[in-house]
């Protein structure tokens, strides 16, 4: 059996005396779409921060395709093929939309720290950037400084920059947060399209999105996993209902 795309083993994280993640073990199989849900403060974003190297672990291990990544710097982890988006939109606000995406492409195209390539002349790079721009439906906003985009457009750009590097393991932190129903539907369609064939882990609060997209759902409550499995199983799980989803009468589901 091939190694899972992502494996967390007994991961713990404490900030000073406060324990936030208390022994989380999780396997994410390659090519699946995995959702992490749970009440606020459960530690979902912290988990993402640990996986992507933003915070160091207090204990435990994290492995990407069998290779340990805990303790590595964020840029090293990204180079190994794991990319993430942020809950609070994190883009290059003073650069244009196209430039943002182009920056996301640079490392994966081998440019490294080159100061001898003139970007305007790099045809393959620019074509790839334009294609990605079209994928996230932002062609019309090509030269607009990213900071001037609408909220939904910025979220789309965020996703675009996240996948630009061609990572095969993608972490999306609340990608549809703050969106209207139609915006969220568009975003879900976008996510489904561009993460086809890749491993997707996402944190979500919108249950319709979760049950629509996810193959596996993990429930995190107070820093611990209380259930993990296919969506239908999770929906019927008593403990999950008690902690998070509510009883059938509340959700209106049989």
């Amino acid at each position: 059996m091939t190694a899972p795309a992502l494996r967390l083993t007994a991961v713990q994280k404490s900030f000073g005396p406060t324990a936030v993640i208390m022994g989380v073990s999780l396997d994410v199989a390659a090519g699946t779409r995995h959702a992490i849900i749970g009440p606020n403060g459960a530690g979902k974003t912290t988990l993402f921060n640990l996986i992507s190297g933003r915070f160091p672990l207090t204990a435990g291990q994290i492995a990407l395709h069998g290779r340990r990544i805990d303790g590595l710097a964020p840029h090293q982890i990204t180079r190994l093929g794991l990319s993430r988006s942020f809950q609070v939109t994190s883009i290059f606000s003073r650069m244009s939309v196209l430039e943002n995406i182009r920056c996301g492409l640079l490392w994966s195209r081998g440019y490294r720290y080159s100061f001898w390539h003139l970007l305007a002349r790099e045809r393959a790079l620019n074509e790839a950037a334009e294609r990605l721009l079209a994928d996230v439906n932002l062609e019309a906003r090509r030269d607009v400084p990213a900071g001037l985009l609408s909220y939904a457009e910025q979220r789309a750009l965020e996703i675009g920059v996240t996948i630009a590097g061609g990572a095969d393991t993608i972490l999306l932190d609340e990608p549809t947060a703050g969106m209207s129903r139609s915006e969220a539907d568009h975003a879900v369609a976008l996510i489904r399209r561009i993460t086809a064939g890749k491993t997707l882990v996402m944190v979500e609060h919108d249950m319709s999105v979760v049950f629509d997209l996810a193959d596996v759902v993990t429930v995190l409550v107070y820093g611990q996993v209380i259930a993990s499995g296919p969506p239908a199983e999770i929906r019927a799980n008593r403990a999950v209902q008690h902690a998070y989803l509510g009883t059938p009468a509340e959700t209106g589901v049989a």
């Binding site: 990204t78 990319s83 994190s90 290059f92 650069m95 100061f115 906003r141 030269d143 920059v161 996240t162």
Partner: protein
Amino acid sequence: MSETVADTATPPRATARPRRGLRRQWPWLTVLAVALVIPWLFYDWTTGRHSGFIVAMLSQIGMMVIFALSYNMLMGQAGLLSFGHAVLFGLGAYCTAHVVTFSKAGGFPLPLELTPLAGGLGGLLSAIALGYFATKQRATAFAMITLGIGELITACALMFQTFFGGEGGVSTNRMTGHSLFGLGYSGSIQVYYLIVAWTAIAIALMLLLTRTPLGRMANACRDNFERAQFVGYDPRMVRFLQFALSGFFAGIAGALYTLTYEIVTFDTVAASMSANALLMTYIGGVGVFAGPVVGAVLIVLLQSWVSLLSNSWLVYAGVLFILMVTFAPGGLAGLVLMHAPIRRAGRLRRLAGPYLRLAVPSLLVVLGFVLAVELCSFLTIGAAQGKSLTVHGLTIDPHHATPWVVAALLLGPGGLWLRRAVRRFGAAWAAVSDEVKTAGGRP
């Protein structure tokens, strides 16, 4: 918001495809032409001599333009505030001095036209050595480290004789006898044209650098260093390389300094020179590539002209700096660029009236401020130096009450008038901007 990303109205392409090639660089070419011609406008045809003052000032503008642009590679492009940039400039200058002396004494026959490369190399190596440590940190910590480095090197320059020549500095003679064009460089006008050539080369290279992967990632790290990490870049490495390259260009500027003045002392590495870089770059505008050019020209002009008339030119520069920081963080170039969308919409003329109404009270306040500063200055410093305040032959006595009253009147009521005029101008600006926004798209 109910509209989706795909439904967003398509704004018209704001700019046509830029014309390729040299033709689209016409502003720079104009500046180059002016630089080439301008000494001849002050040429004394009767004696057949160039104006020493003008050539000296123009030479200084040239090297300061390179210095300020190299500083903006850090400040505006990479978001790095350095208090010790003069170190890279000065070390380049010292290296050049030693190389020129070595070349003249029969060592390696380096043509004088290529000596700025020696300075650039000196600056580059210094930047690598010092930058390795400084770029380990970012933001405020980085600024403090550069402050420490600047002071350390300045103290070293005063203490050590072998490389720095101690307090007396290092002298050299640029007439090495080696030249690509057979020139002697005895006169300052030949050095000036060498400076123009190197300034053009440096500007072109620095401009091209902004369009490379490193240049763009430097911008990215400035905007959001975490995001830069999460697209695979190590922000530390980006900072380090940008610092090294900016040292290369600062070193070139230092080399031109050596060739012009033929002596290098500790003030080429001192805090005052670093402050100069900060002043020029910030006042000119950090967000625009050409901003530091504007700032360098302005500050050198201020320094050359105003210091002839007044001891207090630094006060004026400092006040200008603070005003920029508080009200116009984009600098002069930023202010000019704010008008671009208004100009494109053809409504620039609407601002002519408001600007005129702003001009008169501004002039009064500036006059009052200058008067107050000069009075204070002459009361203490000037008196100690035995000078007196004269304007067009009219002597103003700082011990008398009258000039002070005049200054107070200009500043007090003038200031109130200015405040009202500024508020009115703000309203006019907002009105025009709104019009431009709603009309946006219409030709």
